[in-house]
Symmetry: C2
Subunit: 368 residues, 2 copies
């Protein structure tokens, strides 16, 4: 049985031995700090870590908030921005399923904007915004989970402009941004937006270690203070020790080194995955991604039947409907195909098994 569900790094993409050395050094130098509460006022995160993350993003440290992983940071952002029940939030459709559940839990009315091969449909977003200005628009512009799509430069600028003119916040979630295998890096939306109209969320999970649970936001100092106040009344602070290890790893240049190493590991998997999906699924492939963890395909049929058929040939897939904020009117079945947690031969084997049962592509539906 091949599990095609999980967007996690393979063990060799995590520099565990080097991290263990940094952990040992942190324990040697400051054991009392490692196991005590964070100092008063450190609800924004550990100062040394915030300084290092600020350097990484060429931002001031007072614009950095560190939380228990990027999902927790997103939950706090939602808590800060969604204090009135029924507030509108617009998301990409499809998008990261847990994000939609977080916004709904905070009482938002979540509406989807179709994702095209070059990112979200700006005209469709513009039409929604004219109807009602949302509290925020949530986007994953780089190698999106689940579609693999990257938002074009033009769309990034259009989105930044629309946020300023209409008066909403962009929540930009970019955990995969450093993992580019093809093409050149586009500006992050936070780099081209008015600072008061953007909150960028990022993470060390995909470039250093998921287990350290270091997520962070880049935002205005006011938003950072708001997130810190909410964090204090939710979990106090992340474990100081994990933050110390991350700060040391960043200071030593381990994140930069590990990104290079990850790209070396991931690029061959990526190339093999694109090749086999193009060859075996053809037009069902939604878009050729330029980085990250995910490929996606739209096929004809009914979701439960497709998932059952896949299971009967030993391939476990995520139910793609979970990634859409509302039920899709058509019958296309969305398949998310994470290719980095599997050996290239395993991924190819999974696609070989899937091909006969999903012969009819539903490419015409893609982007609708």
């Amino acid at each position: 049985v091949i599990n095609c569900c999980r967007g996690i790094p393979p063990p060799e993409a995590i520099p565990s031995a080097a991290l263990a050395l940094h952990a040992a050094a942190a324990l040697r130098d400051a054991p009392d700090l490692a196991f005590q509460y964070a100092p008063i006022g450190h609800y924004r995160g550990d100062d040394a870590l915030r300084q290092q993350l600020a350097l990484l993003h060429s931002a001031d440290a007072d614009r950095i908030f560190v939380g228990n992983g990027s999902l927790q940071v997103l939950d706090l952002v939602a808590g800060l921005l969604l204090q009135t029940p029924g507030t509108d939030v617009y998301v990409e459709s499809p998008t990261y399923d847990r994000a939609v559940r977080i916004f709904a839990r905070h009482g938002a009315r979540v509406r989807g904007v179709p994702v095209e091969r070059d990112g979200l449909n700006i005209d469709a977003l513009d039409a929604l915004v004219r109807e009602r200005v949302p509290a925020f628009v949530y986007t994953i512009p780089d190698f999106q989970n689940p579609s693999g799509v990257t938002m074009s430069s033009a769309k990034r600028r259009a989105l930044a402009d629309l946020a300023s003119t209409a008066g909403f916040v962009i929540v930009e979630d970019s955990p995969y941004r450093s993992l580019r295998y093809r093409g050149s890096t586009l500006p992050a939306i936070y780099q081209i937006s008015e600072p008061s109209h953007i909150i960028a969320i990022n993470s060390l999970a995909k470039v250093l270690s998921p287990g350290l649970r270091i997520g962070y936001a880049i935002a205005t100092p006011d938003v950072v203070s708001g997130l810190a106040a909410l964090a204090e009344d939710t979990y106090l602070s992340p474990p100081p020790f994990c933050q110390h290890v991350a700060a040391r790893a960043l200071t030593a240049g381990l994140v930069g080194e590990n990104i290079t190493r990850c790209i070396d590991i991931f690029r061959p998997r990526y190339e093999a995955a694109v090749e086999v999906v193009q060859r075996r699924l053809g037009d069902a492939l939604f878009a050729i991604p330029e980085g990250g963890y995910f490929l996606a395909a739209y096929v004809a049929g009914h979701e439960a039947q497709v998932l059952n058929a896949a299971r009967s040939v030993g391939v476990i897939l995520t139910a793609g409907s979970a990634f859409f904020p509302a039920a899709q009117p058509n019958k296309a079945v969305f398949l998310r195909l994470p290719f980095q947690a599997l050996e290239p031969s395993e991924f190819a084997e999974a696609i070989d098994r899937l091909a006969p049962i999903v012969q009819e592509p539903a490419a015409a539906i893609a982007g609708s």
Copy 2:
């Protein structure tokens, strides 16, 4: 300046050197697990840690949920139980201020039940329950933060009975329970309640390490599953590494050892603190606690004036009004006096400085 605000353990109450050894062992034995995502399905917490916590509490492991500190666990409990806005929650008055803010953030209508010298006023609670049955009653029965009071056995049984008959849940928060300096241990409320009517929250912060951020709940397997589903959609899992260190420390008996060590450190501080408060503040002392971190006093006057006067003699106090869910009708000023983070001489010095400015006790108001 003496800071009388923080309920944190002094450094010598945290076995940092022993924890560093367990951390080194965890890094040596399973570095890949330390820095990777938790395995799928481990949103309830690390299995080895849950087994150890189950042993500690003579409970089945399927009744244990582990989260990012007990405050985060309380936030998830509130998320699970408060899905309808305007739901009633009854709390002790005074109580832990962050708990009230959490319940309010989840849309609850929070009402207070007076705390007497032997715990919450059961008759007052009974009257409120007859008016409206709450989703839950939140109590800190052992050496309460902020009053230091312990709920009597009779009241524990009455509360457990009322929960069963009226049909509400008790949320029992007991981080200080093991730190008893006088008298004998009373049954925990979860030990004498119908399992479906209680969620017990506890923590390793006060008996092992605050920095590991290990909080947990003891509840029915259904509630544990509900908390795990919410946790997955909030922060995925706590850092695996912190959980591995805690599991090893528990397995090695370090928690039991450290409780003995903490009591040896804390008992003299406690005895000195009770003595100086009785001698200098007299009837203002609300109750003589039997364990934990806190003494409390009610004094006459206006809060802002008392806090300013204290600051003018170099003593920083927490605004006691923060611990009450609603404004108090009378003019008594509530002082929380945490005595464990300070050397006995520092605490005595603080009380000596406070005595002349809070000469008029407001004991008659206590327990009202």
